[in-house]
């Protein structure tokens, strides 16, 4: 078995038994990046020299005993790493190659735990999209069918893991950006509870919705990464001071007596029949393993996407104000005035989707419209959240599809933002509630495209979600299938 294809758990055993070195493992992933990136475009900045130096040090100093000692990974291009270009796949940071002088808390924790960053993964511009098609570096291609998208916005992260370019990748999930590409690429991805992982040093899209999480090959690997990245960060005032458990301890395979709800609002017209079947088959397997299944209702689900596409652009219009061409990023010559400078920097630097969201947010927050849009959306958010709270009084886990369709063809949603937004229809309710949700491989279409099962739990119930996902994964082992590249 080629070295780069192994899981984190397998790699840690090999490294500690001295069956391979951290340098060999890093080189195996670098070889994959060099061989496959021209086809897939999953990685946009590389960091090989530093990575190999780190690997050498880990080998020399016994660093493989660290929690992730010697494990190579990719970080989405919004995680700041000192001395490494980080551009959010936007021309506004690409044109002067923004190279941050500081580290995000998450990459810092990973480095301290012995993990090795190989480079930056492609994303939609500032994570705004569901396909990586808005990246200034061009689209990431799906390893399972290169005419299709890998999903987004963490498309480079998911494609990179599926193609063995890193043993795992960091993603961000604001409206599904970890779960959707994981489903499209046969990866396992977790959006943690909001407040569980630090956002410090990660370029913000919508601060009340953004979360940081891992994309991996298996549930056990997700647990291993969460053990390192979860927990209170003094630099992020929205992280919560709750103890971080050993997430691997709960992976018992036992779901006996677990109550699983199927929300009827997620099985609607327009849901791809193969996806519908795969989710029902997945739930039947969980039932065979001892779980009980009931139909539940999340009555405000139909409003989740609309709520998201008010709140998110409002926060975007605020967060994107910092890109003014003064402290970092793109610049222009001979401005007529400061206003002219701002206007030209931002117009040349931002792509269409970012401009659309800034403008929708500016409009929705403007005097006379604030109550009708922003305030109303915040209130509907309350109702969506209450739906989940009510449901979790009766069930432990909610199971649903991740997306209404498998990976779509590149270019199919060009110039139709609404059609693109509707790809997120099953992914944004959880965001409004701030609950953990993950995507686990649950089979393939007849044409060989991967499908994902979404599992959600109440706030702070990562351990329960991981236990359920792990039991299902071990019973099915869809993650073992690799794309024919």
């Amino acid at each position: 078995m080629p070295l780069a294809t192994i899981t984190i758990a397998q790699a840690l055993r090999k490294l500690r038994m001295k069956e391979c070195s951290a340098q060999e493992l890093a080189l195996a992933c670098i070889d994959r990046i060099e061989a496959m990136n021209p086809t897939l475009n999953a990685v946009v900045h590389t960091n090989f020299e530093r990575a190999l130096e780190q690997a050498k040090n880990i080998d020399a100093s016994g660093g493989t005993s660290l929690p992730l000692g010697g494990i190579p990974y990719l970080a989405k291009d919004v995680f700041c790493e000192a001395g490494v270009p980080t551009t959010a796949c936007s021309n506004i940071l690409r044109n002067k190659t923004y190279t941050p002088p500081f580290d995000s808390t998450t990459t810092k924790r990973l480095t301290a735990a012995g993990a090795i960053s190989l480079g930056k993964a492609n994303t939609d511009e500032f994570t705004m999209g569901s396909s990586t098609e808005t990246s200034c570096y061009g689209v990431t291609r799906n390893p399972w069918d290169v005419t299709r998208v890998a999903g987004g916005s963490s498309g480079g992260s998911a494609a990179g893991v599926a193609a063995d370019m890193g043993l795992f990748a960091l993603g961000t999930d604001t409206g599904g950006s970890i779960r959707e590409p994981s489903a499209f690429c046969n990866c396992t991805g977790l959006r943690p509870t909001y407040g569980r992982t630090s956002r410090f040093g990660v370029m913000s899209m919508a601060s009340s919705l953004d979360t940081i999480g891992p994309i991996c090959k298996t549930v056990e690997d997700i647990a291993l990464v969460m053990n390192v990245i979860a927990g209170k960060d003094p630099l992020d005032g929205t992280t919560v001071d709750k103890p971080v458990p050993d997430h691997t301890k709960v992976l018992t395979g036992n779901v006996k007596g677990m109550k699983i709800g199927l929300p009827k609002e997620y099985f609607i017209e327009g849901l791809n029949p193969e996806i519908e079947t795969s989710v029902h088959e997945a739930v039947a397997i969980l039932k065979d393993l001892g779980a009980t299944i009931t139909e539940i209702s999340l009555p405000h689900s139909a409003y989740a996407t609309a709520t998201y596409y008010v709140l998110c652009p409002c926060e975007v219009s605020s967060n994107m104000a910092r890109y003014d061409g003064i402290r970092f990023g793109h610049t222009v010559d001979k401005p007529a005035s400061l206003t002219d400078y701002y206007g030209r920097v931002r117009s040349e630097g931002f792509g269409s989707e970012v401009k659309r969201r800034i403008m929708i947010g500016t409009y929705a927050l403007s005097s006379g419209y604030y109550d009708a849009y922003y305030r109303q959306a915040q209130k509907v958010r309350t109702l969506i959240r209450q739906d989940f709270n009510t449901a979790f009084r009766d069930v432990d886990i909610i199971a649903a599809p991740v997306t209404p369709n498998p990976a779509f063809t590149i270019g199919i949603h060009d110039n139709d933002p609404i059609a693109m937004y509707l790809e997120d229809i099953f992914l944004v309710g959880q965001v409004m509630a701030g609950i953990p949700a993950m995507s686990v491989p649950c089979g393939f279409t007849k044409t060989g495209l991967p499908l994902g099962l979404q599992l959600m739990g109440a706030q702070w119930s990562e351990e329960l979600v991981l236990r359920c996902a792990h039991a299902y994964e071990q019973a099915t082992r869809f993650f073992e299938k690799k794309p024919a590249l």
Binding site: P100, A302, G325, I326, I358
Partner: protein, 97 residues
């Protein structure tokens, strides 16, 4: 039903400090209108007795002790990120006048 005109789009762009191209001025009214018409469905939800949600963690006004700590980045390194001239440890910006 919400319908944005080219003139409104130009005004919003000005508020957001975006200079749109003529092509964008032609494309954006229809695209932004379709988004606003989609989210208009929120208006049919009765929220008269509902509080707004602005956070879900229960944290409000997260405070900490004001104690000195090591800097996360050095001032010169931060200044080095700017493409504009640095004069006396400050960024020289285009004139506001």
């Amino acid at each position: 039903m919400t319908q944005l005109t080219e003139q409104q789009v130009r005004h919003i762009a000005q508020l957001a400090r975006l200079q749109l191209t003529e092509d964008e001025v032609r494309r954006f009214p229809q695209q932004l209108t379709s988004i606003l018409q989609y989210v208009d469905m929120l208006k049919e939800v009765d929220t008269s007795a509902v509080e707004a949600t602005s956070q879900v963690t229960g944290l409000e006004n997260a405070l900490r002790e004001d104690v000195p700590a090591a800097a996360i980045a050095q001032p010169d390194a931060l200044l080095g990120c700017s493409a504009l001239p640095i004069v006396g440890h400050q960024i020289q910006t285009p004139s506001a006048h």
